[in-house]
């Protein structure tokens, strides 16, 4: 029986938004807390404690996930994208601009997660219909907007016409 190490802490190396970080982290540390507290990337947020709200959504190795249900040690060696990667040198991405144009955010707390979910959608489906947009953000709770303006913003960002 090959013995493998069982560790309560280890050094993880991650690429987040193009920057490599190396940190010692407890095995129990959630990825969302690693990003926010250890790496000072506070754009991703915590809104619940049962994996329902999606405010913590990030993209890990190209896959949209809720970072509150991943341990930091699970992403050792991974490439992570967070909301901080979307704008380029203070120039908002078309998706971010569309969110502003269509008033798809009010308090802004769910917004980073929403943007990541929308980003993941548009990569896979550049011209989604209304139902596909809703399905794509089904895992992101918003309490301010009622989602209707978010649907419009994502549709507009995809270059499709939006009924005003």
């Amino acid at each position: 029986m090959a013995e493998i190490p069982v560790v309560t802490a280890e050094t993880v190396t991650v690429d987040v938004n193009g920057t490599t970080y190396e940190r010692e982290v407890e095995a129990r540390r959630l990825l969302i807390h690693f990003l926010r507290d250890d790496l000072d990337l506070t754009g991703s947020h915590v809104g619940c404690d049962t994996g329902n709200c999606g405010a913590c959504s990030v993209i890990v190795d190209g896959i949209l996930v809720k970072s509150c249900m991943l341990l930091a040690v699970q992403v050792d060696g991974a490439k992570i994208e967070t909301v901080e990667a979307l704008a380029e040198e203070e120039q908002l991405s078309p998706l971010q601009q569309a969110f502003s144009d269509h008033h798809a955010l009010q308090c802004g707390y769910c917004t980073p997660g929403m943007l990541m979910s929308a980003t993941a959608l548009l990569r896979e489906n550049p011209r989604p219909n209304d139902e596909e947009i809703a399905r794509a953000i089904q895992g992101n709770i918003c309490r301010c907007t009622g989602y209707w303006n978010i649907f419009k913003a994502v549709k507009a960002a995809s270059g499709q016409e939006v009924a005003e």
């Binding site: 407890e26 129990r28 540390r29 807390h33 926010r36 507290d37 000072d40 990337l41 506070t42 754009g43 991703s44 947020h45 915590v46 809104g47 619940c48 404690d49 049962t50 329902n52 709200c53 405010a55 967070t82 909301v83 901080e84 979307l86 704008a87 908002l92 971010q96 969110f99 502003s100 144009d101 008033h103 955010l105 009010q106 308090c107 802004g108 707390y109 769910c110 917004t111 980073p112 943007l115 947009i133 809703a134 399905r135 953000i137 089904q138 895992g139 992101n140 709770i141 918003c142 309490r143 301010c144 907007t145 009622g146 989602y147 209707w148 303006n149 978010i150 649907f151």
Partner: protein, 825 residues
């Protein structure tokens, strides 16, 4: 029947005063750039060197004596920095001020449970450690010896002889009662053709669950004795008034700093107990202390909306559906503590008659304590419950008398020509045209084709229903209404503050006393300033958030109760008007003319008759700040203006419980169309229209955003969102798993419309809006009742209608019908 008597004089706004400019445009939001980049600063984003993380030990019992709290093992755990217990708190602080008159006045409320725990989730001790996880671990080592007591979980049993007593000092669970009566009930019931009696209606307990929970990072400055509280509390004025005396310090020792807040909806007003605990710990441990409220903590303990039973309602009505009056008992379940209560016991009276012209009203408001989370403001605070009640009454009366609910509403709505309208208790509805809004909403859902839609639904095995929910959003409180709760209180009126300055390089800088949580204050304030100063919104820099160090605040500062468009923008307008006067004065001195010759336009102060004679703002700023030799001695110009907006209120008449309680009345009329699956009770909202009127809209997109958000929250409250307790006082919906809020796929199609009835009482014709008044709840309840008519005419009696309740109405309509009797006279 008596006609309304005196009505406040409206402010006349001259045509020439209104300029075309930014007001009325959907100007892009200044807040967005940082928020879409994840660069907002929410309290949990802030770090301080050496900060300790707090975890609160919370009671697992709904009602229990605390025989002992032993933190010794927790203190030994590596990484633990310190603790706080109820015994310490009872020595270091005084109980929080109680708004209530006796017996509620006798409650002894501290920042941690002292002697007894009174609801599941009540903080009993606090542990601070070097990491979040360590604090959580160590909290399990705190040993609390609980002696469980019977729990009181139903307000209707609170007054029974054998009911568990929550607060010995009060001697009763009935902590506040007020009887309100206006008009002539006896005459009304004598004149009635029918009396509709409804034994019991229930407005359920829920709240708005802002995505960001409460929290703070608290630092203590030993040298000055001042705490800096970086938090998301949305009413720092109230928090300070509560915390200062409790902590035995002056209010200037409490500096509140907020920037971005992830939603408030009223649920971030009563975090002061936890803030006090953090303050004590920061001082005790000589390091910053950080508290993050987790979702479960929030659901268990924070700011549940008022749960209210309407008992023994009697409605006097004429054969043709004219409503004469009603009497009812409103039994309000306040939970374990009165933290902002019993203000809910009077705030409903801002909308006593709802949107209707009945004049004879009696309401016996009884508020009781129970072993549940304390109630405090939730979007639509206390008015929503009452307006739901009036809408239920309308629909039930219409159904029982065989009348069309549209016609009954139109017959009884206060009419546009009645405005300003004085209600039976002296509130003044400023303006509005409810019938027009109803027509618009009905048109938006194609009400004309209703019968065809019903037939189509039936062919698919579904029951279709249409329901109307009309509601008011009363805004800008007169805090004098608190004297109707407790005549000893010294609160009245309202205020908000803004400062506007023109800086040395011509920058315009605005500070607000408000604490926005998504309401776009930076943007709308800039619109108002830019219009007055004749510059671009981009030239106006509105500081993000609130900082009491800026001294841009007053006793009532904060963002709550649908008032920013009146109080906040009123303060901004006032300060900017002052600044404009000063700019013109200064320019007139420099240009050698009179101030009346000067206009502010295109970023210049220039002579109206000669645009060449112009000073850019930078010149004005530079003169006053850096180059002021030679100016006339009596020139009263600082270019740094502070204005306190004060709405025109009188203290109300406490004896008659009469007087104007709110300055403005926005309105919303919603229509919901539902399809019910009679096999299961599952239903879907298949169409929805929301029509709003908030007077002059400074930024239409912002207003519409608020209407949409309120609609979504109301839909959630009508369907799955409830804080339900079992009989032992355990909350069955402590997180988003069981407390289901609407997600994207749950949203119905939405059609919106609006009209603008400017308020005659505000400087810009705006009305506060944002809370909404729960129209969606009223509409969905009405739609369900309409859908189920063919199945025995059940009565929708609860604001919350998850599938199991609809099923109950389908399988046993008779039980619900037993709540209603109609007597003929």
């Amino acid at each position: 029947m008596t006609e309304p008597t005196t009505v406040a004089e409206p402010i006349v706004v001259e045509e020439a005063e209104t300029k075309r400019g930014y007001a009325g445009q959907s100007v892009p939001r200044k807040e967005d750039k940082r928020l879409v980049q994840g660069e907002g600063v929410f309290f949990d984003d802030v770090k301080r060197h050496n900060m300790g993380y707090v975890h609160f030990v919370r009671s697992p019992y709904a009602h229990a004596k605390l025989r002992s709290v032993d933190v010794s093992k927790a203190l030994e755990h590596p990484g633990v920095l310190g603790t706080l217990t109820g015994d310490e708190v009872a020595l270091l602080t005084d109980p929080f001020f109680q708004i209530s008159s006796p017996p509620g006045a006798h409650l002894r409320d501290f920042c941690l449970a002292v002697g007894k725990a009174r609801f599941v989730g009540e903080p009993v001790a606090a542990v601070v450690a070097t990491t979040r996880e360590t604090a959580r671990d160590a909290s399990e080592l705190v040993e609390v010896d609980y002696e469980p007591l019977p729990a009181l979980t139903d307000a209707r049993e609170a007054l029974a002889d054998d009911a568990p007593l929550l607060h010995d000092e009060a001697g009763t669970n009935l902590t506040w009662e007020g009887v309100y009566e206006w008009g002539d009930l006896d005459a009304a019931f004598a004149e009635a053709d029918r009396v509709v009696k409804i034994s019991e209606l229930h407005f359920d307990r829920f709240n708005s669950t802002p995505l960001e929970c409460n929290g703070a990072l608290v630092e203590f400055n030993r040298g000055t004795g001042q705490w800096t509280i970086i938090t998301n509390n949305q009413f720092p004025g109230f928090a300070a008034i509560m915390m200062g005396p409790a902590m035995r310090v002056g209010l200037d020792k409490l500096r509140f700093v907020t920037q971005d807040i992830g939603g408030g909806f009223g649920n971030k007003i009563t975090s002061h107990p936890q803030l006090v605990a953090c303050c004590l710990l920061a001082r005790k441990l000589n390091r910053p202390v950080q508290w993050t409220e987790w979702r479960t903590d929030f659901h268990l303990s924070m700011s549940h909306g008022n749960e209210r039973w309407f008992q023994d309602t009697e409605v006097a009505v004429k054969e043709d559906g004219t409503l004469l009056g009603f009497r009812t008992t409103a039994l309000d379940d306040a939970g374990a503590w009165l933290r902002y209560e019993p203000l809910g016991g009077v705030i409903w009276a801002q909308v006593t008659p709802g949107m209707y012209r009945w004049r004879h009203i009696r309401l016996d408001f009884k508020q009781v304590t129970t072993n549940k989370a304390p109630v405090s403001p939730n979007r639509g605070y206390s008015r929503m419950q009452h307006l739901w009640f009036t809408e239920r009454v309308i629909d039930i009366v219409a159904q029982e008398l065989g009348l069309d609910p549209v016609e009954v509403r139109k017959r009884n709505y206060i009419r546009a020509e009645d405005m300003p309208y004085e209600t039976p208790n002296g509130c003044v509805y400023d303006s509005g045209d409810y019938a027009k809004m109803l027509d618009l909403a009905l048109e938006l859902v194609g009400h004309g084709g209703l019968e065809e839609k019903r037939a189509d639904a039936e062919s698919r095995g579904k029951l279709l229903g249409v329901g109307i929910g009309s509601t008011l959003d009363s805004g800008t409180n007169n805090f004098g209404q608190s004297r109707l709760i407790n005549p000893e209180l010294q609160f009245s009126g309202n205020n908000e503050v803004a400062t506007v300055k023109l800086d040395i390089f011509g920058e315009i800088v605005v500070t607000l006393g408000t604490t926005p949580q998504g309401q776009s204050h930076e943007t709308t304030a800039a619109q108002v300033v830019a219009d007055i100063l004749g510059c671009s919104v981009d030239d106006v820099n509105v500081r993000a958030g609130h900082d009491s160090y800026w001294n841009s605040h007053a006793g009532f500062s904060g963002t709550y109760a649908s008032q920013f468009a009146v109080t906040g923008l009123g303060a901004v307008k006032g300060a900017t008007d002052m600044l404009a006067v000063e700019m013109k004065k200064l320019a007139s001195v420099v240009l050698g003319c009179t101030p009346d010759d000067i206009e502010l336009a295109e970023g210049f102060a220039r002579m109206r008759e000669n645009h060449e004679a112009a000073l850019p703002f930078m010149a004005l700023g530079a003169i006053i700040n850096a180059n002021n030799a030679g100016l006339p001695e009596d020139l009263d110009v600082t270019l740094n203006c502070r204005y306190v907006y004060r709405p025109p209120f009188q203290p109300p008449d406490v004896e008659r419980k009469f007087g104007n309680l709110t300055l403005t009345y926005a309105a919303q009329v919603h229509v919901a169309v539902v399809e019910v699956d009679p096999e299961t009770g599952v239903y879907e909202i298949v169409d929805y229209a929301a029509v709003d009127d908030c007077g002059k809209r400074i930024n239409p997109q912002v207003v519409e955003g608020q209407v949409m958000g309120a609609t979504a929250q109301a839909i959630g409250a009508a369907t799955h969102e409830t804080f339900t307790y079992d009989e032992d006082g355990n909350l069955l919906t402590p997180n988003f798993y069981d407390y289901h809020v609407p997600h994207a796929l749950d949203m119905p199609p939405l059609k919106t419309g609006n009209i603008e009835s400017p308020s005659p009482f505000t400087s810009m014709g705006t009305k506060g809006m944002g809370e909404g008044g729960g129209a969606g709840i009223h509409a969905v309840c009405a739609a369900l009742q309409d859908a189920l008519r063919p199945r025995g005419n059940p009565i929708v009696y609860d604001s919350s209608n998850p599938y199991h309740r609809v099923w109950e109405l389908l399988s046993d309509p008779e039980s619900s019908r037993q709540r209603v009797t109609v007597e003929s006279r």
